[in-house]
C-alpha cells in the first residue's frame, strides 16, 4: 500500500499499527486541530461486494458513533476515500490487554476491575442496540489510572464477516467467540457477554480458555468443553467469581447473563470483596500475586461440574471438596466379600416368607390369624 499523506481531511502524522483490515494512523484533524487515530479499512474489490460492505460499514459506524461512554472509544467521524473506508477515533495512550497479559500477570483485583469496566461499556452499547461481536484482549485498551476502553465498536461486525468463507468455515482464532457465533447462528448481546467471560477467565487464570492447536478443535472446545473453575486454577480467586465466570460462559445463551449491567453489578460485588480482603490483610493492591500464589497441578484440576439437566451416564461428576469421601471410595476400591456380593446384586423381589418375617404389617396379620385359627380349632374340636 502506497504511503498516504492525507485521507479525507485528515493529515497523516504516522503509523500506529497494522491489522487484518487495514492500517491505523496517527492523524490530525485540521478543522478541530485535534489528534485522532484514523483506522482504515480496505474495501472489497468487486462492485457488488463493495456496495454491500459499504452499506454495512456506514450503518455500523453510524451506530458506533452514537456511543459516548467512558469505557468505549469515541468515534468522531467516518468516511470513504478511494479504496479505503476510514474511521476517525479518539486517540488513546495506553496498552491493549493482550500486550499487558504478555508482559505480566494481572492481579485478581485488576482483572475483575477491567472486566467490570468492560461490562459497563458493553451494557451501555447493548442498551442502544449495538453488539460488539469481537470482544477479546486485543480490543480492550488499558489507560493510565486504570481506565479501560473497548475498541473497534461497530467495525467488528465487518471483520467477523471477513472471518467467514463462502463455505461457512470460520477463519481466524475463535477462542473468544460464543458457541452461537462459532456455529454461525445469529448473535445478540449475550454473545459479547460470553466473550467477556472468556477474557475474564484468561485474566484470572493466566491460561487460555478453549485453547487448541487447530481452529476446528478450538471451535469444538468453545461449543462443548466445560471450563475448570478459575478458583481451582488460581486459589487467589474468590469462589463467587467462579459463579460469575460460570454464568457468563454458559453454552446456552438463555441461561447466560441476559444483561451486561447485571454481570457488571456482580463483578462490582466481587471487587468490593477483593478490596475488603486486601484491606484486611494489609496487602499492597499492586502486589504481583504470581510470586506468592501456589498453583494446583494440572492433575488436580476438575472441569466445572455439569448441571443436573446435562448429566448423562458418561458424565463425570467431580468429588466435592467440602466433604471427605475417601472412606467410601476406599470401600469401593477394595470391597469386602459381602460388599462385593451386595454391590453387584440386583434387588430381589420380596417373597411371602420374607414378607411375613420382615414386614411388620403382614407379620401381625399372620400371627393373629394363626393364633385365632388355633383358638377357633380348639373351640370347634376341643
Amino acid at each position: 500500500m502506497a504511503k498516504k499523506k492525507q485521507i479525507g481531511r485528515y493529515k497523516i502524522l504516522g503509523e500506529l499499527g497494522r491489522g487484518a483490515m487495514g492500517i491505523v494512523y496517527r492523524a490530525e484533524d485540521p478543522n478541530l486541530d485535534r489528534i485522532v487515530a484514523l483506522k482504515t479499512i480496505i474495501l472489497a474489490d468487486d462492485a457488488e461486494g463493495r456496495k454491500d460492505y459499504h452499506k454495512r460499514f456506514f450503518l455500523e459506524a453510524k451506530a458506533a458513533g452514537k456511543l459516548t461512554h467512558p469505557h468505549i472509544v469515541t468515534t468522531y467521524d467516518f468516511g470513504e476515500e478511494g479504496d479505503l473506508a476510514y474511521l476517525a477515533m479518539e486517540l488513546l495512550e495506553g496498552t491493549d490487554l493482550r500486550e499487558r497479559l504478555k508482559e505480566a500477570a494481572l492481579s485478581t483485583t485488576e482483572a475483575v476491575d477491567i472486566a467490570q469496566q468492560v461490562a459497563d461499556g458493553l451494557g451501555f452499547a447493548h442498551e442502544r442496540g449495538v453488539v460488539h461481536r469481537d470482544i477479546k484482549p486485543g480490543n480492550i485498551m488499558l489507560m493510565a489510572r486504570g481506565q479501560v476502553k473497548i475498541m473497534d465498536f461497530g467495525i467488528a461486525r465487518m471483520r467477523s464477516a471477513d472471518f467467514k468463507t463462502s463455505t461457512g468455515i470460520v477463519l481466524g482464532t475463535p477462542r473468544f467467540m460464543s458457541p452461537e457465533q462459532v456455529a454461525g447462528s445469529p448473535v445478540d448481546n449475550r454473545s459479547d457477554i460470553f466473550s467477556l467471560g472468556a477474557v475474564l477467565y484468561e485474566m484470572l487464570t493466566r491460561s487460555p480458555l478453549f485453547a487448541a492447536e487447530e481452529t476446528p478443535q478450538i471451535a469444538h472446545n468453545v461449543t462443548h468443553l466445560e471450563h475448570v473453575p478459575p478458583s481451582r486454577v488460581n486459589p487467589e480467586v474468590p469462589a463467587m467469581l467462579d459463579f460469575v465466570v460460570a454464568r457468563a460462559l454458559k453454552k446456552d445463551p438463555a441461561v447466560r447473563y441476559q444483561d451486561a449491567y447485571e454481570m457488571a453489578a456482580d463483578l462490582r460485588t466481587c471487587l468490593a470483596e477483593l478490596r475488603g480482603r486486601e484491606a484486611a490483610s494489609g496487602k499492597d493492591a499492586d502486589q504481583n500475586v504470581t510470586k506468592t500464589v501456589k498453583l494446583e497441578s494440572t492433575a488436580d484440576k476438575a472441569p466445572l461440574a455439569p448441571a443436573s439437566g446435562a448429566i448423562s451416564p458418561d458424565t463425570r461428576l467431580p468429588l466435592s471438596r467440602q466433604f471427605d469421601s475417601s472412606a467410601a471410595l476406599q470401600r469401593l476400591a477394595r470391597p469386602s466379600s459381602r460388599d462385593r456380593e451386595q454391590f453387584t446384586r440386583a434387588p430381589r423381589p420380596v417373597g411371602l416368607f420374607r414378607r411375613v418375617t420382615s414386614d411388620a404389617g403382614p407379620r401381625l396379620l399372620f400371627a393373629v390369624a394363626l393364633s385365632s385359627a388355633l383358638a377357633g380349632a380348639y373351640i370347634a374340636f376341643g
Partner: protein, 220 residues
Amino acid sequence: MQEFARRPVTEQARLRAQLEAVVAVTAAELPSASRIVLDASDGTAIVVLRNPQGALRLAERALTAAAAGLPLSAGINHGTVQPVGGRNGEGMVGDGIAVAASIAELASPSRLLISRSFRDALADVTPGLEAALAVAGTFTDPGLRRHELYSLDKHRTRRRERRYVALSAAAAIAFLAAGVAFRVSVEGQQNVVDAVVAKYRDTAAQGEKYVRGWVEKVKF
C-alpha cells in the same frame, strides 16, 4: 436447585453455601464409609452405598431442612456407578447418577421423586418401607428409557398399618366365629351354651379359689 443457572450470582453463591450446610448436617447421619458427595453445578449428588433407607431419610431430611428458602428438589435412583480418576481428578460416572439427576430435574420445588429401581432396592433391604411410596407417574429420560416414579407419602404407611390391624382383627373374629359355628352345628346351640356356661363356672370357681389362696398367703 431449581432454576439455579438463571439466578443472580450473589444468590447462587448464597444458595450454594446454604446447600453445603444442609448437606453437611444431613450427610453426617450416614457413616462416612457409605456416602460419596459429588458436585453438580446446580446442586449436589450423593452416592449412598448399600443403604437405601439411609438415602431416603437423607433426601427427606435435606428437603425439610431446605424448606426455608432453598429451592431444592431431589431425585433418588438405584443404579450402577463407577469411580473414575485420571487427568481431571477423581469423580464418579454412571447411570445411577444420570437417572437420579434427570428425576431431580423433573421434580417440583421441595418435592422428592423416586425411581422404581430404588423402590425395589428399598423393598429388598427393608420390606414394608416401600409402602410409603406412592406412584407419581412415568417419565422418559434423555436415554429414552421410561421410568415409573414414586413420591413419598407417610400417610400411606399409617393407612397400611391400620389396614393390617383391621385385617388381623377381622381374621381373629372370623376364625373364632368359625370355631363356634362348627361346634354349634355339631352339638346344637343349647348344648354349646350349657357347656360354655359350665366351663365358665368351672373356670370362675377355679379362679376364685386361686385368688383366695393368694389372699390367705398375703394375710399370713
